[in-house]
Subunit: 340 residues, 2 copies
DNA sequence: GTGAAAGCGCTAACAA
DNA sequence: TTGTTAGCGCTTTCAC
């Protein structure tokens, strides 16, 4: 039912000129008789002519489009990062296609192929939790398609990386808990094939070591892949003989869920158990006690990644770049113990 | 620097056959000598051939792509709706391009033009808060591009709509507050040119009317466009001579912020002031008191909208459809008063 | 300043 | 079963 869209051919026919002239008039970067140009622009506007970017893309061998793969849009961190990406891309006149891997390697690989097939000019990727092999990225790199990882980065590939200092900030946060008098600090760790999860765990362990606090394996909880087991962890932790006096949660929502359970169990936060979140969602400020957390500038990471990618796309030089974006510890009530 | 991607021409040359044969072998829906076919597929895999969908799109005059315009990805409601859209689209072999209007009419219009220029096969739109005229949508409709509005719908256009019963559920929720003994119910209303905001306000007003509770204008707060004035509203409400005994917030985050301020002011929720949110975020369950809210099935709305659109795209019939998705009131502690 | 023609990668009607 | 050809909408070289 769809009417055929207006093309330069239509305009040319109606004006009795050739389509090359119409093209030139429309693009504006070639000499065209001002009078002809005016007529063309007028008619184009009147017919609501929209250039067919599909045709332009085919001709130019570039789509002015960036492909993005993130684990999930409902994850606020990535939603914000996408905001930064889109901002930068649009400023540069680029479109953005967003795919979700749903934390699945298989889906991530399919997304990648779809984006390559769509001939995006470059790729921005935050890998899925499940991804522990990188053949699909290697294929992209061998095609010389510019690729920038952000946040959930992959090491050892010829690709740029925008990442935050998970190691440093986690170490700092652990020291902060220790300074509050906490000695039995539980830590919920993510999958260890992920760069970020590894660094967080390292930061935690090194902080303990630096403070001569023995590491106890049963305080380290290995979070599962997909299932949300926060409920289970919490019960497990509360039942321990030597109950932890602090918990480093895997994110803010898990922290709040834990806090809820702890309070239900008749314990006080932070005096019995201090809680630390991850991501510094808005909501941290509005709960009681207000939740301490670690702030990652998601928007900035997305923007930085897009900036690097756009540079590579335009310069045709894809020399890998590494950019660190600073995270920071935000101390609120949930980890602020009054000194005794 | 980017290497030229492998094309069917390359495969044809390497195999000493014509590119039409390669095309046929690859597409699989034409008679090709099984032996030739095998050779083609083998070489294609070996060279990691990815069909150029740009060329296919130009040829076929359809892109197998849906365009989506939402106000913001950081809004969880839309993030979830996008999840539903992508699921349906991918099942049907369609890609999705997502644009954010940032709640701006101008950006929305630009997004729309970009998507039309990209020759998407259909459009899914939730209008920006600022949008109060619809010329840009009319232009799309006059081009016979299938268009489905979801959640933030527009009335009076030849387009399909997927919406939730804001009127009914708001009325029900208001009656619930009244049943709890609330008589002075404050209501934070959204911009009245928006269909949803209008219906919510209507629901609230009609409930009061049905219960013979006089409407008091100063209990109705007109929320501003962009600025988050929750802080200001709350102080204003708390300072009133006849302080409200219930507040209908504009969303869950605003509700939590209000709850926080109310508690800080030494008042109890729900006994002094009951609070009702909107959207039923996960977090509602983990705050104290747990927040009553209204649940909108965002994912389902997105999925339903995509389903309708895909139908129209495939059938070439764009007879507008209206689909209602049920919302529901979720009562928790923040509006549950013990009867005296 | 303008037009004719070629070609981007692919599909499909037609011919062989 | 296969090859030839035309053409999707656009840009760009070349010639005038």
């Amino acid at each position: 039912m769809s009417k055929a869209p207006v093309t330069i051919k239509d305009i040319a026919r109606l004006l009795g000129i050739s389509k090359s002239t119409v093209s030139r008039a429309l693009s504006g970067n070639a000499d065209v008789n001002p009078d002809t140009k005016r007529k063309v622009l007028e008619l184009a506007r009147k017919l609501d002519y929209q250039p067919n970017v599909v045709a332009v893309s085919l001709k130019q061998q570039r789509t002015n489009t960036l492909g993005v793969i993130i684990p999930e849009t409902v994850n606020r961190f990535f939603a914000k990062a996408v905001g930064g990406i889109q901002k930068m891309a649009n400023l540069a006149g680029f479109n953005v296609i967003i795919c979700q891997s749903d934390e699945s390697y298989v889906t991530e690989k399919k997304n990648l192929q779809a984006l390559v097939s769509s001939r995006v000019d470059g790729l921005l990727v935050s890998v899925s939790r499940e991804t522990d092999r990188y053949d699909h990225f290697e294929a992209v790199i061998s095609k010389s398609i510019p690729l920038v990882f952000f946040d959930r980065i992959v090491e050892g590939l010829e690709a740029s990386q925008v990442y935050s200092d998970n190691y440093e900030v986690t170490k700092e946060a652990t020291h902060h808990l220790i300074a509050q008098g906490c000695q039995r600090i539980a830590f919920v760790a993510g999958p260890q094939h992920l760069y970020n999860s590894r660094n967080r765990l390292r930061g935690y362990l090194d902080a303990l070591k630096e403070s001569n606090i023995p590491v106890r394996d049963n305080y380290i909880i290995q979070s599962q892949y997909k299932l949300d087991k926060t409920d289970e962890y919490t019960r497990h932790l509360l039942k321990m003989k030597e109950r932890p006096d602090a918990v480093f949660a895997i994110n803010d929502y898990a922290a709040l869920e834990m806090m809820h359970a702890i309070k239900k169990a008749g314990l006080r936060v932070p005096d019995d158990i201090a809680i630390l979140g991850f991501n510094n969602e808005n909501i941290c400020r509005f709960v009681e006690p207000a939740l301490s957390s670690i702030d990652h500038p998601a928007y900035d990471m997305g923007a930085a990644a897009a900036e690097i990618l756009l540079n590579q796309v335009r310069n045709e030089s894809i020399e890998p770049v590494r950019r660190l974006i600073q995270s920071r510890l935000v101390v609120r009530e949930s980890t602020h113990r009054l000194k005794r």
